[in-house]
């Protein structure tokens, strides 16, 4: 446009004010990990430097997400728009209590995995990019937790998915290739379903900004119309696939035990929970009426997931596969919260997600230590670990109690909230299923502890005899990089069990912000909303 005939007034479409310095924290988690990942990628041949660099960036990530959480608690929902273009035109990053909490816990878990990786990742694994992939995975995870744009959410899903492929095949074993094929194919179909639903949603509303869609859905005459229900069902299927809910859960036990144990730990902690997060975000924030319409179906899926997970765990003798089923049982609990949909239930689901991220990572790391001590992941070949380390046996027992939902550890409070919410809502079967699933998980985890720790030695040796520890890897076991991450995570489990107020406050805030999204919408559009 030559000349000055048209001088567009950009103040309506653009944020012309400089961004407050604190708001940069909104994009800091993705920026830090992306920079760190690229830097590690360039220096990937320097296997000595890689862990230091990777862990350094992960520490930065933890600090940034801690700052972000504090800022969110302080100021409510924070929004930053890319390129200054105001929503709904620009892509918005909108951070509420839910996103900030999960980012913080996710980064702590990633840091623990990064430290643990120092001892379990050999130089080949490092050269083929363990730390770059871990950092880029965190880019995707943080981006998914923080974004306020539904197509952008799809892009972050793909970022974390391609990094997880890289992590999964690191090592190139036959079992990894087999697991990666199933994981890869099913997750790609899941993201395509997500994309279909997003395309249809855009076709209906002409916007991709979550707050904008939520406003437009709420303004509809019949928010539970068939078209929206179709979109909601597609979203539900897509995220259920990501979260490994019954009946689309089969890829998880087929692949999670294949990679290096530290990779399994990150996957079990984070990936399924990103699916649950997206499900909560879409179902509770954007399409609440369709969620109510589908509540029965979600409840049935939750019951199926709870029972499949717990019964599957009972039938496994491979510890990692057993834990894979325990992950699925946890997903069922969170789905139960989505099915009920009250503030208490959604808060319970959020708290459970936090608990599950920490405890599942810790359990996978513990199973890695069990393998270092006993030389096997199979319950039949494990035994006598109590004699090796009574402290480790105690830690494992704490984690087993926590994952089964027994007090006084972190799994207890969210389960109380979920069961309470289910009974309040009159969904007695759902509440009962959570309890039964918890009971069966207790059996499965108790059996792991009895066989691997309590009995004298592996199968074939007499009880009470000291077992031959041929596979024990003493040098790695004396390294603090093995014990520190497990210690941090167990401390968190105990802390959230004894002092649940902080997490209760965060998750209740997150849940009420989703159910009554006025604050969220105001943060994006400003003023009246």
């Amino acid at each position: 446009m030559a000349g000055s005939s048209v001088s567009a007034d950009l103040s309506q479409a653009m944020n012309v004010m400089p961004v407050p310095a604190g708001d940069w924290l909104v994009v800091a988690p993705t920026l830090i990990t992306m920079l760190g990942g690229s830097l590690c990628l360039m220096l990937r041949k320097n296997t000595e430097l890689q862990p230091k660099l990777g862990i350094g960036f992960l520490v930065l990530l933890v600090l940034a997400s801690l700052g972000l959480t504090i800022r969110t608690l302080d100021q409510g929902v924070v929004t930053m728009v890319m390129g200054g273009w105001l929503p709904p035109f620009g892509i918005a990053f909108t951070v509420d209590a839910l996103g900030a909490t999960l980012t913080l816990i996710g980064s702590v878990v990633a840091l623990c995995a990064g430290i643990f990786g120092m001892s379990t990742m050999d130089s080949t694994g490092r050269r083929y990019g363990f730390y770059p992939f871990l950092l880029l995975l965190m880019t995707g995870v943080c981006g998914a937790f923080l974004t306020g744009d539904i197509f952008n959410l799809y892009v972050w899903f793909e970022v974390l998915l391609i990094s997880s492929y890289g992590l999964l095949v690191l090592g190139n074993d036959r079992i990894q290739l087999d697991g990666a094929v199933k994981y890869g194919v099913l997750n790609l179909i899941g993201t395509n379903l997500f994309l279909i639903a997003t395309g249809l949603l855009y076709g209906i509303f002409g916007t991709l900004n979550m707050a904008d869609i939520a406003t437009k859905v709420a303004a509809l005459d019949s928010p539970a119309s068939g078209t929206l229900a179709t979109v909601a069902a597609l979203y539900f299927l897509a995220f259920a696939m990501k979260a490994a809910a019954f009946p689309v859960n089969f890829w998880l036990p087929a692949s999670y035990h294949a990679p290096n144990i530290v990779v399994s730990a990150v996957f079990a902690g984070l990936l399924t929970k990103v699916g649950i997060y997206a499900l909560i975000r879409v179902m509770v924030l954007i399409l609440p009426a369709s969620r109510g319409y589908m509540a029965e179906v979600i409840g049935l899926v939750a019951i199926g997931t709870l029972l499949t997970g717990a019964i599957g765990a009972l039938a496994q003798s491979e510890v990692r596969r057993l834990l894979g089923y325990v992950v699925i049982a946890g997903i069922g609990s969170m789905l139960a919260g989505v099915a009920v949909g009250s503030t208490l239930a959604v808060a319970g689901a959020i708290f459970y997600a936090v608990h599950s991220i920490i405890v599942m990572t810790a359990l996978y790391l513990a199973s890695g230590i069990m393998n270092m001590m006993g030389g096997s992941y199979d319950l039949r070949n494990l035994g006598g670990l109590y004699q090796r380390s009574a402290a480790f046996a105690a830690v494992f027992l704490v984690l087993a109690f926590a994952v089964s939902g027994l007090p006084p550890f972190s799994g207890f409070w969210p389960k109380v909230m979920l069961v309470d919410a289910a009974f309040q809502d009159g969904r007695n079967w759902l509440g009962a299923s959570i309890l039964v699933s918890g009971f069966l998980t207790t059996l499965a985890m108790g059996r792991v502890w009895i066989y691997a720790f309590w009995r004298g030695g592996p199968e074939g040796t007499g009880d009470g005899q000291s077992a031959p520890f041929e596979g024990a890897e003493t040098p790695r076991l004396s390294s603090s990089s093995v014990w520190l991450p497990l210690g941090i995570l167990t401390a968190l489990v105990v802390y959230f069990g004894l002092q649940p107020e902080w997490m209760l406050e965060l998750s209740t805030r997150g849940a009420s912000g989703l159910i009554d999204p006025l604050g969220y919408i105001r943060s994006v559009f400003g003023g009246e909303g």
Partner: protein
């Protein structure tokens, strides 16, 4: 025109589901490729199909005079094409490597990660 394209997209979905349900990994991958393309066409159609209308705004107006195609879905499709293309490339390499290592492309026979006669955990103590 939208109707015709919608039917075509439906056909694409049918073909991709049919292919994905088969046992051969190569067919499954072809199904995924077609699924990706049908999703892209779906989003593309969402942006209105118009012929030969450039999305130009005359100087004295602030919106286009007649209905033009929405450029945003086209941008979305571009993103989705790039992503699905790179994923498909990765999966092809993965499938080839898996075929080399496992000696089969029949997914029913890929049982390394989940052994067929998996034993139950120890029963008594």
């Amino acid at each position: 025109m939208e109707t015709g394209v919608a039917i075509l997209i439906g056909l694409f979905f049918t073909v991709s589901v049919y292919l994905m349900l088969s046992k051969q990994l190569v067919r499954i991958l072809l199904g995924i490729a077609i699924l990706g393309n049908s999703v892209n066409m779906l989003i593309f159609t969402n942006g209105r199909l118009t012929r030969e209308v450039p999305p130009l705004i005359p100087e004295h107006l602030s919106t286009p005079e007649i209905a033009t195609a929405n450029p945003l879905p086209q941008a979305l499709v571009l993103t989705a094409i790039v992503i699905s293309f790179s994923f498909f490339a990765f999966l092809l390499v993965l499938a080839f490597k898996a075929y080399q290592e496992l000696g089969t492309d029949n997914v029913n026979e890929m049982r390394v990660a989940e052994p067929e006669n998996d034993q139950t955990p120890p029963q008594g103590y």
